[in-house]
Subunit: 402 residues, 3 copies
């Protein structure tokens, strides 16, 4: 085996009886210490790959990644629905009850919230960290397994990174799945990120990143995908399930693209723009809003009412074109009662463009609503005149679907 190839099941922490089964975090930290010892010259620090074979591993100590070019690689994303299991009643006859694959149970005893922390001060930014094909399992939500709360974070970076790649992971029952600050050229693809409070949070700032081809679904109080002050983000080809409070949430984010996704939610605000979100494109996406079907969550208060918009535009110069909206909610469930639900709300800004979106709805809806503060919005071929509403003061160009 190459000196840059490690296996958590064969690594021995010097002077310790800890194993990957008892604390994979301590084992990985010991490996990282070895990498740093082996690669002490600035001239050659190629990093290493740490393999995690399929198995059940406890993580008691947070992993701290402070070297570039580290790949941690499992051999199975191992997702199964813990939500179904915990709410299934008697499971004594079930074949299995836990997630699997290269499964890391996040059970920190070190006081840290994170399973994996990525952090390094100084220059350059950490580059090309790769996390692939393993499972981070938060195991349990307090107190009833349905809260989406346990304080656990799967992966968190707290200093800027370049060209990080997160792929093939399975995340389940974490309060926060992935939290990345100041990302540049981050790639999050082909992951299964479900039954976490929030799934992907790109915080602080970011640029030129990619969240493509994932299966994602957060809890009703969290974000499936959140991006703050991000510029040049692409979100494409994802299948975003319920039950996130939003599906994609942009905050003060400009020049991003959301194309060719499938979004399904139990709430309005499926795409929420918060603050000043300018010049973003939302195109060729399918939106389905219908009611929660899982009894245990049917009483969850909606984070926003049906006037908020399935797409909530706040900012200027945004483009919302060629999308489909299915609104499958009976009139008695609409909030506030008696309201006409809104599909696209332009809540602020100038020069937004909403065109060629089609909808199918169980109740009369407003395809587009313009706040009174909005200026020069264009609304084209999105429905009839009766399906369009502009508050007094709004200026716009409108063409009804013939």
């Amino acid at each position: 085996m190459s000196s840059t190839t490690y296996d958590v099941t064969t690594w021995t922490i010097p002077g310790s009886a800890t194993t990957a089964e008892t604390d994979i975090g301590a084992v990985i930290n010991s490996i990282i210490a070895d990498i740093k010892a082996q690669q002490s010259s600035q001239q050659s620090k190629p990093g290493a790959v740490i393999s995690i074979p399929p198995g059940d591993y406890a993580l008691k100590t947070r992993v701290v990644i402070d070297v570039s070019y580290l790949r941690i690689q499992g051999a199975g994303h191992g997702f199964t629905s813990s939500s179904i299991r915990y709410n299934a009643g008697d499971t004594t006859n079930w074949h299995e009850i836990w997630p699997g694959g290269s499964r890391i149970r996040v059970e920190n005893t070190d006081g840290a919230a994170e399973a994996i922390l990525i952090h390094r001060d100084g220059d350059p930014r950490l580059s090309s960290i790769e996390l692939a094909d393993f499972c981070l399992d938060g195991v349990s939500f307090m107190p009833d397994e349905n809260s989406y709360r346990n304080g656990k974070i799967g992966i968190r970076s707290t200093t800027a990174t370049d060209s990080m790649r997160i792929s093939g992971l399975g995340l389940v029952y974490l309060e926060r799945g992935i939290v990345v600050v100041d990302a540049d050229a981050l790639q999050i693809t082909n992951n299964m990120l479900c039954e976490c409070g929030s799934c992907v949070e790109l915080v602080g700032s970011g640029q030129a990143s990619m969240v493509n081809d994932n299966l994602i679904g957060a809890g009703p109080w969290g974000f499936s995908i959140f991006a703050e002050h991000h510029f040049g983000l692409i979100v494409a080809g994802n299948n975003i399930f319920p039950r996130g409070a939003s599906s994609i949430h942009l905050k003060d984010a400009a020049n991003n693209v959301i194309s060719a996704n499938r979004l399904h939610s139990f709430f309005s605000g499926m795409i929420t723009m918060e603050g000043a979100c300018d010049r973003n494109l939302v195109s060729a996406n399918h939106f389905l809003r219908n009611p929660e079907s899982f009894p245990v969550f049917q009483d969850v208060p909606h984070p926003q009412d049906d006037l908020f918009g399935l797409v909530h535009v706040r900012g200027s110069g945004n483009t919302v074109v060629s999308n489909h909206f299915s609104f499958e909610v009976s009139s008695v469930s609409v909030q506030p009662a008696g309201a006409t639900p809104t599909l696209v709300l332009v809540a602020s800004g100038t020069h937004n463009y909403i065109a060629t979106n089609h909808h199918a709805a169980d109740v009369p809806v407003h395809a587009v609503v313009l706040d009174s503060s909005t200026i020069d919005t264009k609304v084209l071929d999105c429905g009839t005149a009766a399906e369009f509403a502009a508050f007094p003061g709004a200026t716009f160009g409108f063409r009804p679907t013939p």
Copy 2:
């Protein structure tokens, strides 16, 4: 090597001389039996990874996967065109004549049709099975290598699954490539699925699945991608070649999305909706219909004539926007003779929306045709008035391209 890591070339079936070369199916089944013996506690069943190094392996016995979290992983999709080879005449001087990589020759002698069967009764559903980076080769089509018929199935599940992942495979010369019943959160990505009778069939029902970024092409009597009673499927980023009877076929399927694909076919019905297909989105796709160029298949009867529509809409509330259609067929080849070919046929339903599609055609075409039964279709900016046809009784809004 970890106890959860197996290699088909080093595994010995107790009391048997069978090897991976002589029957990889028997070897994998023996490994699965070992996994079950090793992981007998409901509390910990993380599964395993079975590696298939590059090599030529016969499969005489069907693999039966009845454990979750099993990854079977090769090191090469190994596709080559058997169709070209079989029709090439003398190949004695060819460098190689067969597919390769981690190549499994599907040569069942056990009476089963499948190379790999996924089946388990009881709870929970099988989860997180991963099949990656190997080749399933059906070797031959009867009787002349061009029938796309040999009764062989690559991968078939007959009970519901959750979060299965199929990636990086090469499938060739199977009558049916992948047949999955009742899929939930299935991911089929980055595969090379060609020269199979049918490639991907999602049958029974399904939800929240993904077929993205594949290279796919079925035979003239089969499906490239078929989805039945599926809800929340995304089909994005695929390159779908000929010569399937259809490129994407939905049956009684609602709320799915087909975006950002490239489709090429020798027949109409490139996207076919059968039964009641409601509230689906078809956006940002490129369609090319031209004639079969490979002499051996030029006499294949067309599965449907040119009035069927390149996109055949049957159902309500569907959205077909921002697509491009190239129709490169000479007038003498149009079927029925003398007909004006149809690009989008709305065959049934209410409230469908067809807008902002452009076409380039070698003959006069109807960009959109409405059946007499259709109600309230919208047809906007898809061509001239002469390129639009509505049978008596149809109701619609129409705006010609200026």
Copy 3:
């Protein structure tokens, strides 16, 4: 270890002291010779996998791949920004200064330009070569590290290939990253291809290929993605950064699709069609054009002026719909001075269709301009009448945004 599984760090070249560290090219060529010796029968040539663990490897001798089904696989794409580093001044306190992962330093002493050459005469075409998860580093640009010139090519094929797959690579500081002739069913996905003169060049001809989900950015004199005489190419889900002379460049290419990408450039010509480019689709993409922010490149002459169009259409029957354009250039920077910048220029051809594109611009722009030679272009809902310009002789249908 299987006989088809090789590791560059353990392979010994017969009679030579050369190692992977001193010349990984010679080592891989020796392995390929062994594969050919081991697999001499036409009946069974499954190929092999060659692993490259993380490490720093010099390549002095060009790798020549002339066998099908070869996978060369690393364990880390290893990108870091050499451009930032070389222009950073004193880096003595930096943690590391070079790319990493499975890093191959391209330092040919054999007179060849390529790190990896793919070439075989005779039949069939080379099939299913897979290159994954390693780094090709050109190390240095002459003379000042900012020229994007060093004569080095990462991967080049000079004979036709089928079903090649290039994924997960990191390419940096090569004059040309990937150059593939006559590709069929080529898949280039999930790569990090940056700081190369040109990144992806599909030359000669090609069909049915895919460039999806990559992070790409070329130098100011090169191509991020170039495709010549290509037919049936899909370019989807990519994040294409500056600073390429173009982002996507088609030459004499028909029936291709560019959907759901994010494109950012410092120049016009982001999508350039050269020669006769017919019946292509450009849909659901986000375009951002703004000024170069990195001081060292701010004086680079623009390859074309702002009248060239962010999208430059040359050919017939093309469709440009549902895109967003952000033009964030101050009036003093517009070239030629005083000009009104063009977003979409239809430079030639008949029957092109430009619809439902929206823009946000810092200066007055022409959303669409038609050359006098153009015939029957349709321009719908792309802006006001003042934002549209047609040279005398052009014929068109035009509808301003209401």
